[in-house]
C-alpha cells in the first residue's frame, strides 16, 4: 500500500477512485506520564515516552486507514493528511491523531 500526500503517483497511473478513508486515535491523559514528561522537559532530554505514544497513535490511525483501503480494493492512498490536535483534559493532555486520504487503484 502506497501512502502519499501528493495528488499523483510517480510513474504510475491512477485508474480508479475508490473512496475516502479516515482514521482516528487518542493519546490518553495520564497524570503520571505527564509528570514524568514535565520532569524530562525541565532537566532536558527528549520526552521519549510521549514520542512513543505519538508514534503508537499514528500507527493505529494509519493502519485503520490501510485496512479500509484494502477492503475497498485500493492499492494506494493519495492526498494523505495527518493532524495532531490537543484536546486538553483535566488530568493532562489528550491528543487526537487524525488521518485521511483518498483510496485509489493504480496500475
Amino acid at each position: 500500500m502506497i501512502l502519499t500526500s501528493s495528488s499523483t503517483l510517480e510513474n504510475k497511473k491512477i485508474i480508479d477512485y475508490r473512496g475516502l478513508v479516515t482514521g482516528e486515535s487518542l493519546i490518553g491523559a495520564n497524570i503520571y506520564k505527564d509528570l514524568f514528561s514535565g520532569v524530562r522537559d525541565v532537566v532536558g532530554g527528549r520526552t521519549s515516552r510521549y514520542e512513543e505514544e505519538l508514534q503508537k497513535a499514528r500507527d493505529i490511525t494509519l493502519n485503520s486507514m490501510i485496512e479500509k483501503a484494502e477492503q475497498m480494493g485500493a492499492n494506494a492512498i493519495v492526498g494523505l493528511k495527518i493532524s495532531y490536535d490537543n484536546l486538553g483534559g483535566t488530568m493532562g493532555n489528550t491528543i487526537l491523531v487524525t488521518a485521511y486520504g483518498t483510496a485509489v487503484k493504480y496500475e
Partner: protein, 283 residues
C-alpha cells in the same frame, strides 16, 4: 552638518528638560496645596494621586506644544518618588501596608506608567481571573462526575476494565462503507486526476460534539473510548452534511477536503469538527 545636528539635539534636550521641570513644578505645587488644605481620606492625602497625575498631564501638554510629541510623563514618575518618600517614610513612617495603601500604590503607578500598569491589569490580572474561573469550573465538573458515579467517598486507583457488551460499538469498516456509498466523491487532493470536472464553489459544514473531562484516572480508558466514538460519529455526520450541501448545488464531489478538530466554548467544553473543500461536478 554635524554641528547643526548637535545644536538641534541640544535644543531638543533642553526643551525636554524644561517640560519635565514645568511638570514637576506643577505637580509639587498641587501636592503642597493638598497638604496645606488637608485634602485626605482617613489620613491618606489625595495629593499622592493628583500630584503625579497633574505633573504628567501638564508635562504632556507642554511637550506637545514645544516638541510636538509626548516625552513619557517623566515628571509623574519624579512626583511619584517624591510624594511616596515624603508621605510614607518621612511624614508617616508607621503607615502600614493595607488595602488602601496597596490600592493607592497601584493608582500612583498607573499614573506614572500607564502603558505598563494597564498591560498588567488587563493581560496579567485578566489572565489570572480567566484561569481562576476555569479551575472553579473544572472542580465543579469533578464534583458533578463524582456524585454521578457515586465515588465521592472512594478514590479508585486501578483502571476499570471496559465491559465490552455495555459499551457502544463503532464499526470502522461499516462506517467507512456508509460514507463511500453516498454516491459522492470525497477527494482529499487539491486536484482531480484524469477526470473532467466543473468547480462550483467552497463548501463547509460543522458539527459540535461534547467533550468529556477526565476526572477519575480510573475512568480514563472508558471516557477516552467514548470520546473517540463521539468524535468519529461527529466526523461522519459532518461529511454527510457536507455532501448534502454540495448535492443541493448540483455537485457530486468535493475536492481538497480538509477536516479540522478544535476546542470551543468556555474552558474548551466542546469539540468543533469542520469539513471543508471545493464542491465539484465530475462528468
Amino acid at each position: 552638518m554635524k554641528s547643526t545636528f548637535k545644536n538641534r539635539n541640544f535644543k531638543y534636550n533642553g526643551r525636554a528638560i524644561l517640560c519635565v521641570a514645568i511638570g514637576t513644578g506643577i505637580g509639587l505645587l498641587v501636592y503642597i496645596i493638598f497638604l496645606i488644605l488637608h485634602i485626605d481620606i482617613y489620613g491618606w492625602n489625595l495629593g499622592l494621586i493628583f500630584a503625579p497625575l497633574s505633573a504628567g498631564y501638564v508635562e504632556t501638554i507642554v511637550a506637545n506644544r514645544l516638541l510636538g510629541e509626548n516625552i513619557g510623563a517623566i515628571s509623574a514618575f519624579i512626583l511619584f518618588i517624591d510624594t511616596t518618600f515624603y508621605s510614607f517614610i518621612l511624614k508617616n513612617p508607621t503607615l502600614g501596608f493595607n488595602i488602601i495603601t496597596a490600592g493607592s500604590i497601584i493608582i500612583i503607578l498607573q499614573a506614572a506608567f500607564p502603558t505598563l500598569v494597564n498591560y498588567i491589569l488587563l493581560v496579567v490580572v485578566g489572565g489570572f481571573l480567566a484561569s481562576f474561573f476555569k479551575t472553579i469550573k473544572e472542580y465543579e465538573n469533578k464534583i458533578k462526575n463524582m456524585i454521578k458515579n457515586q465515588q465521592i467517598f472512594k478514590w479508585e486507583t486501578k483502571d476499570v476494565e471496559i465491559d465490552a457488551d455495555a459499551m457502544p460499538v463503532y464499526d470502522e469498516l461499516e462506517s467507512n462503507h456508509l460514507i463511500n456509498s453516498l454516491n459522492f466523491y470525497f477527494i482529499t487532493s487539491p486536484e482531480m486526476f484524469d477526470r473532467k470536472h466543473k468547480i462550483i464553489r467552497q463548501f463547509h459544514s460543522e458539527v459540535i460534539v461534547e467533550k468529556d473531562n477526565i476526572v477519575l484516572q480510573a475512568e480514563r480508558e472508558k471516557t477516552e473510548y467514548l470520546q473517540l466514538i463521539r468524535i468519529k460519529d461527529g466526523k461522519d455526520e459532518c461529511l454527510v452534511k457536507l455532501a448534502s450541501k454540495v448535492k443541493q448545488h448540483g455537485g457530486n464531489g468535493i475536492m481538497d477536503l480538509t477536516l479540522n478538530y478544535s476546542l470551543i466554548g468556555f474552558g474548551g467544553d466542546n469539540i468543533q469538527i469542520t469539513a471543508m473543500g471545493t464542491g465539484i461536478y465530475i462528468e
